[in-house]
Amino acid sequence: MSDKTMSAEEAVSRLRSGMTLGIGGWGSRRKPMALVRALLRSEVTDLTVVSYGGPDVGMLAAAGRIRELVAAFVTLDSIPLEPHYRAAREGGAFALTEIDEAMFMWGLHAAANRLPFLPVRAGIGSDVMRVNPRLRTVTSPYEDGETFVAVPALRLDAALVHVNRADRLGNGQYLGPDPYFDDLFCEAADEAYVSCEQIVDTAELTKAAPPQSLLLKRHTVTGVVEAPNGAHFTSCAPDYGRDEAFQKRYAATPWPQFAARYLAGDERAYRAAVEEES
């Protein structure tokens, strides 16, 4: 069986401009930030980003890497409105496909199940239909005759997710309270790159945690990146909480200054810069 370990740079080197990229986590929680930082150091651009958005979206939008965003929200949780995302959006920096949280989930389910769409009781009557004029509806073929939104599959060229543990084969484990939708992102994608706090032997995974914590299955994973603190400054329960002080700094610092200070060097330089000021 193949060893899928690689560096964040190697993972990002397999991405191409123009791709549709799914990013796991939720808001400012368990975001694959080390992979996003590696992406920001690359030349990859013109992305369609699909995300329950947090600072991943804020950074990629501020850096001008997004052509189109598919999202239901973008938030930093403890700071409700993501300032860099807001500035980019108010500046008309990218196209937005704004859909409801449930529509988003069913779009991923459809992609994972190789279906063109799934019907969902959401969106009708709202301006989601107005701002997404290509959205179609479907009528129940049964007696009820109800009309639903046919959410198109959110098929992804690649997915980036972050979990607590993984083995070298690509089996990924989450130890926090919420899986978010990371397994769906991997199943909906042609390639999935998983960063983790720690790579362990396969047998280690279930020594102290139940098998249902094994969220990602290796057949859906292309590459495994060991990235301790790789979700920083978002949370990665139970390994660490959100770095609220750093998040505040991120939100309060103009993007060019933040990028110059924290993203000009590699991941080691990032960590050093973070530690210097904490």
Binding site: E98, S126, P177
Partner: protein, 254 residues
Amino acid sequence: MSGESVSGETVGGQSVSGVTRAEYCVIACAEAWRGAGEILASPMGLIPSVGARLARHTFAPDLLMTDGEALLVGLDGTVEGWLPYRQHLALVTGGRRHVMMGASQIDRYGNQNIACVGDWARPTRQLLGVRGAPVNTLNNPTSYWIPRHSRRVFVERVDMVCGVGYDRAAGARHHRIPRVVSDLGVFDFATPDRSMRLASLHPGVSVEEVREATGFALVVPDEVPPTREPTAAELRLVREVIDPHGSRAREVAA
């Protein structure tokens, strides 16, 4: 005070009984979950959270509540269930939930906006995004909490319909907006055309004040009752057990 007002006497923002405006808001929010049974209470915002806890402590003991993340918890924090986002979304579509959301804008039919201000294509102010408002409003009862009632929030027309109002729901089978609670009063849609109606005034507020702060023509019945008084036991629960540090006053001043 306006002649139309039926509210009690007030001194320095407090009613003569010593109940604060924030506490009337708590009671008005709590009432949203009366008789709700074994469903999930999803309060967003501080005062709705205090209200939901008060309801569970008293007249709605079967309510389910979350820790704000992935766990179902009792009033003392005891974990009784697991509700990660994906299951939360299934619970929404199953209908066994009553959410009280915020609104950056709301119109007379209950259309709600939390996405952006201005033209959606190029907003003057980008806000949160539609979040789950479209799915909420077609599947489970959705109420709203607005801590600062103003013409900026209660508008003639919302810029982006996130939560679906009565005029746009076209009788969707599970659509229901039981109430809107603001710092001035309680509103419902118990009118022939399902437009917003003043259902009760918090003591100390006049009808004129509400009209002045609302950007559309509100339906005002001839007799507007006051928002009910909390019982002594409810006041004690709010002040000593649920919110002993008085954080409710930060959301709505005395």
